[in-house]
Symmetry: C2
Subunit: 205 residues, 2 copies
DNA sequence: TTTTGTTTCAACCAAATGGTTGAAATTTTT
DNA sequence: AAAAATTTCAACCATTTGGTTGAAACAAAA
C-alpha cells in the first residue's frame, strides 16, 4: 500500500484519536487508549504517527477545516440573497453539528489552550469581513432596507443560537428532561425560530 | 489561624489553581505550576489540599455555584415582569462574564469530560422549568399576549447570545480585528440587540 | 513561655506514560 | 518468487509527575 492517502488503518486511528482527545483532552488522552480504541497496538500507532503531538495536530487541523470549510463558501455564494444565506447557513450548520455535536467544544477548547499555535498556522483575519454576505448586508442597510447594524453582530447571532446549544447540550437535556427525539425536535424548532428572529429584526426598519 | 474559612493562603491557592486548570485543563495542569503561580511550594499546596483531585473539585464546584447562583434568583423574582427579567438577565450575565470571561468554557469542558460526576452531585432537573419566569411566559402565551413558544427556547436564546461570544471571544476578536475597547463596545451592542430581538419576537403575535 | 499551626526546603518514591527496539509473522506489491 | 510494506508482540527505558517525608524555621495563640 503505497498510496499515502485514504489508508484504512490510518483512518481508524484518526477517528479513534478524535474520540479520545475530545473526551479526555489533549493532555488527558493516552496513546494506549487511542490504540485500544482503534483496535491496534501502540507500535502500530507510532508507525503511523511520529508522536502524540503530531497526531493531535493532524486531528485538530482536520476539525478546523471541517468547522470552517463547510461555512465560508456559503457566505460567498453570489447567487443567493442575504435572507437566503441566513436561512441556508443556520439550517446547514444545524445539520452539520447534528453529525458532529462535540466539534465546537473540542475546537474552542484547543484555541483557548494554544491560541498562538492556532493563529500562527491559520490566517483567519480576512475570511469573514469581506464575504459577499457582509457586503450584501451593508448595501441593504445603506439603501435603508434593513436596520443599521454591524454585520458581525448578525453573524455572531446566527452562530451563537445554533452552536451554543450543542456546547451546552448535556445541561439543556438534563434541565429540560429531553429524550434524543425531544432534542432533535427542539433543535428543529430552534432553526426555525432563529431564522425568524434575525430576519424579523433586520427587516423592521 | 483556626478560622477555617477565608484563609489568605488558601485563597491564593484557589485563585492560582483556577487559572492553571482553566488554561491547561484538569489533566494538563501541574501541581508544581499551581504552587508556583500561588507563590508557595508544593508541600504547602498539599498541606491545604489533600490532592489534585480534591483541589479541582473544590474549584469546579465554586465555579458552578457562581455560574448558576447569580442567575436563578433573578428568574424567580416575583416583583418583575417577564420583559424586565429578560432585560435584567441579559445585562447581568454580560456584566458577570466580563469579569469571568473564561468560566463558561471551563465549566462546559468539565461537564463534557465527567458528566456523571457533575449530575450526581448537582440536582439541576427542577431548578429552571418551574421558575416564575417560565410561568410568566406560559401565562402570557395563554392570554395571547405573546407567541406560543416553549419558554426553554427563550431561555436558551438569551443564554446563547451572551455566553457563546465569550466562548468564541479569541476567534471573534481576531476575525473582526477588535481591540479590548472594541470588544466591550461590541458586547454592549450585543446586550441591547439581544434584548430587542427577543422581546420584539415574542410580542409580535 | 509553651504549644500549636504555618511555611520552607530538599530529597525521595512509586506509578504512569510517551516512546523505542528488534525480531518475527503476515500481507501487499512488483 | 522476491522485495517491500504492514502488523503483532513483549519487553524495555527515560522522564514526568503526583504525592510523601522529616527536619527545621517561623508565626501566632494559649
Amino acid at each position: 500500500m503505497l498510496d499515502n492517502s485514504s489508508n484504512k488503518t490510518e483512518q481508524q486511528i484518526l477517528e479513534a484519536a478524535y474520540r479520545v482527545f475530545q473526551k479526555k483532552g489533549r493532555a488527558g488522552a493516552r496513546m494506549q487508549e487511542i490504540a485500544d480504541e482503534a483496535g491496534i497496538n501502540k507500535s502500530m500507532l507510532h508507525y503511523y504517527f511520529r508522536n502524540k503531538d503530531s497526531l493531535f495536530r493532524k486531528i485538530f487541523m482536520q476539525s478546523i477545516a471541517e468547522f470552517l470549510g463547510s461555512v465560508i463558501p456559503m457566505l460567498n455564494n453570489v447567487e443567493t440573497t442575504w435572507q437566503e444565506k441566513i436561512s441556508d447557513f443556520i439550517a446547514h450548520y444545524n445539520t452539520f453539528l447534528t453529525k458532529r455535536p462535540d466539534l465546537p467544544l473540542f475546537v474552542m477548547n484547543e484555541i483557548n489552550q494554544h491560541p498562538d499555535e492556532f493563529f500562527n498556522q491559520l490566517q483567519i483575519e480576512n475570511i469573514l469581513m469581506h464575504t459577499v454576505f457582509f457586503n450584501q448586508l451593508s448595501a441593504a442597510a445603506e439603501r435603508g432596507e434593513i436596520r443599521t447594524i454591524h454585520p458581525i453582530q448578525v453573524f455572531v447571532t446566527m452562530l451563537s443560537n445554533i452552536v451554543f446549544p450543542f456546547i451546552a447540550a448535556p445541561i439543556i437535556k438534563k434541565v429540560a428532561a429531553f429524550t434524543d427525539s425531544n432534542w432533535e425536535h427542539f433543535m428543529e424548532d430552534r432553526v426555525r425560530i432563529t431564522k425568524e428572529i434575525i430576519i424579523n429584526y433586520l427587516e423592521k426598519v
